[in-house]
């Protein structure tokens, strides 16, 4: 029996299954135990697993991120929840200088099997300090892996793999995906999704759209319009994890369509698209019929006022316009 559940419910199932499977898995963060999390993701966990494995913290992001590193060094598998990915600004040292580097700096003596879960993204009118997409920042730090699911199915399969991975894995979840419902296999049908495996969400032949997280939904919406109104066939490649990157799928898709557009909500300057574009240009230049095109957030602070906010990150119609310009249609 298939069923429809929300992205947050699916993530919750993934974490719950792993906590039941492995007693070293624990969750730590603000308001996750008694209240069950800002997005109700860990509701009921405290009753089932007790306070040592479901830990409400004081507002001390740097402190509990650092504690998670110490726990992971000892062999626990902490899942740190930041209430918003923006709060990495006050807790980056334990992730960037400790978790990401300890395996390397100790010559492989130590592994850090920790997960950082954090909501990201604009669209909820949360203004400048609660709306960023910070994938590029995390990607720039060797030693971290980065996962950004777009559907409930992917969210569950990827969080389970992230928890089982022996390296620090950052999982960024777009806030506006949490309430969205998706088709899911039955609850008792266990599955995982490997990191570094992209998923072609829509097959096409004219242009490849490389994207992830909420923008996958925008790309699919745009692809539908482009097909129906302009006869353009888009291939939507959901990268799902940005580190490691599924270059094989990217490579094969571009060799098929010969046109590529990168689509992200985060700001364009030094963004993920800039890096993808450079890699594609360096290695697949002869395959391209048009320059790599980037659609991304504007290089501004996320504004509060709805008309302002909607103007600064990509909407489906921006993707339609960009593809038409790129293909001269």
């Amino acid at each position: 029996m298939s069923r429809r559940i929300s992205f947050s419910a699916a993530t919750r199932e993934g974490v719950l299954e792993e906590m039941r499977r492995d007693s070293n898995v624990m969750v730590i963060g603000e308001d996750i135990a008694v209240m069950g999390g800002t997005f109700a993701l860990t509701r009921g966990f405290l009753e089932e697993f007790g306070p040592m494995r479901v830990r409400d913290t004081p507002i001390s992001e740097s402190g509990f991120m650092g504690m998670a590193v110490g726990m992971a060094m000892r062999g626990m598998r902490p899942i740190v929840e930041l209430m918003y990915n923006d709060f990495i600004a006050v807790s980056l040292d334990p992730l960037m200088n400790q978790a990401a580097k300890l395996r390397y700096m100790t010559g492989g003596q130590i592994t850090i099997p920790m997960v950082l879960r954090a909501p990201m993204g604009a669209g909820r009118r949360n203004a400048g300090q609660h709306s960023q997409c910070l994938e590029a920042l995390f990607m720039h730090i060797p030693g971290l892996k980065l996962v950004c699911p777009s559907t409930a199915y992917d969210a569950k399969g990827l969080i389970k793999t992230a928890i089982r991975d022996n390296d620090p894995v950052v999982v960024l979840e777009h806030k506006l995906l949490y309430a969205k419902k998706f088709e899911m296999p039955p609850e008792d049908e266990e599955y995982t999704i490997p990191l570094g495996k992209a998923d072609i969400k829509r097959e096409g032949k004219d242009i490849t759209i490389l994207t992830w997280s909420r923008q996958v939904l925008f790309a699919l919406e745009a692809a539908e319009t482009l097909q129906n109104d302009f006869g353009i066939s888009c291939e939507v490649v959901d990268l799902r994890s940005l580190v490691p990157l599924d270059w094989e799928t990217v490579n094969a898709s571009i060799k098929k369509t010969h046109n590529v557009l990168t689509l992200e909500e985060g700001v364009m300057r030094a963004g993920v698209g800039a890096d993808l574009s450079a890699q594609i240009t360096e290695t697949l230049f002869d395959e391209l019929d048009s320059p790599v095109n980037r659609v991304a957030g504007a290089n501004v602070v996320s504004p509060f006022s709805p008309p302002l906010e909607d103007a600064v990150f990509p909407q489906p119609q921006d993707v339609v316009a960009a593809v038409r310009r790129q293909l001269n249609v």
């Binding site: 650092g66 590193v69 726990m71 060094m73 626990m76 700096m105 130590i110 580190v243 490691p244």
Partner: protein, 330 residues
């Protein structure tokens, strides 16, 4: 020095460890001065008693986290001087195969969770390690070394607050050598003693003479017993002296001359040697220890000097434990 009676073998072992640190550091200093070491090193000369006294109160199953000035802390917990020296030399026989260097020595098998290049970063890590002990009920404690300057980092407050709130088995051990690089702690801090801050977290805080190895041992032993009883952390401040500058080669012109006069007047090693003789340890036995340490450090130097550098291809391994190649490539 303490009135209490200790086993002679215990006292000799303390002397051996303090001397091992001193001789290791002197050797490292010589190598650095001759240009044999890359990067920077921070020497623990003068802080031996605090480090050895603290680790003497721990067992093999306990853990420590260290600082950028971490050589002595690692040696006090039992680290091998040859593998340490090789790491300082950047050789593949070093503790971290040359990937960490002076500030990142780890020996997981000895409970050494790592020195650290970021001031104050070890305080939450130690607290997390203690959290694991409490979760598992494994009876281990974690001792967290940090300096007076780290006590002004936010991590100090955040981590000790949580360690105290949840009664974690952790000992916060401040080696107060009065200087953060060039800055006299009294110029930037409104407490005479770092240990006063324990009151803010409702945990015990004591200040001891960090050059009195037995005073440090007793204070840490009390803290360890409390932690093992499940009563939570303690803050132990050891007043000590950093004989060298911040880094090797720093002339420390920012310090008044009295600092070194005071440091030398409080030197732990000669004082403790005298105490050993008073306690009936024979001069020959002490000389034997001194000769053994001299030989050990000579071996460490030779081992490091003669070891091979890692192959450049090693730069690309161990970034990740799973899917390393692909994750490094793009």
């Amino acid at each position: 020095m303490a009135k209490k009676k200790y086993e002679k073998s215990f006292l000799v072992e303390l002397y051996r460890r303090m001397l091992r640190i001193r001789k290791f550091e002197e050797q490292a200093k010589e190598c650095f001065t001759k240009g044999m070491l890359a990067g920077n090193i921070h020497l623990a000369i003068g802080q031996e008693a605090a480090e050895v006294g603290a680790c003497a109160a721990l067992t093999d199953r306990d853990y420590i986290t260290g600082t950028h000035r971490g050589h002595g802390q690692c040696i006090a917990k039992g680290a091998k001087t040859d593998k340490m020296m090789a790491e300082l030399f950047g050789k593949k026989t070093g503790y971290c195969q040359g990937k960490g260097g002076s500030m990142h020595i780890v020996d997981a098998s000895l409970g050494i969770l790592g020195a650290n290049g970021i001031v104050g970063a070890g305080i939450p890590i130690a607290t997390g390690a203690a959290y694991a002990s409490k979760t598992w009920g494994d009876d281990a404690v974690t001792l967290c070394f940090f300096g007076d300057a780290a006590a002004n980092q936010g991590t100090f407050h955040e981590a000790i607050n949580m360690g105290a709130a949840w009664d974690l088995p952790v000992i916060y051990l401040c080696e107060n050598n009065k200087y953060g690089v060039s800055t006299d702690i009294s110029r930037v801090t409104n407490n005479e003693h770092i240990s006063e801050r324990a009151a803010a977290y409702n945990i015990p805080g004591v200040t001891v003479d960090g050059n009195d190895v037995l005073a440090v041992y007793e204070a840490v032993k009390t803290a360890v017993e409390r932690a093992r009883r499940g009563e939570g952390p303690s803050l132990v401040e050891c007043i000590t002296y950093r004989h060298e500058g911040h880094y090797c080669g720093d002339q420390a012109g920012y310090r008044p001359g009295e600092y070194m006069e005071e440091a030398l007047a409080h030197e732990a090693l000669p004082t403790f040697r005298k105490y050993l003789l008073e306690q009936g340890v024979k001069e020959e036995e002490i000389v034997k220890v001194e000769e053994e340490i001299t030989q050990e450090i000579a071996h460490a130097y030779k081992f490091a000097d003669e070891s091979e550098y890692p192959d450049p291809s090693e730069a690309f391994t161990d970034v990740y434990s799973m899917d390393n190649e692909r994750s490094v490539l793009r």
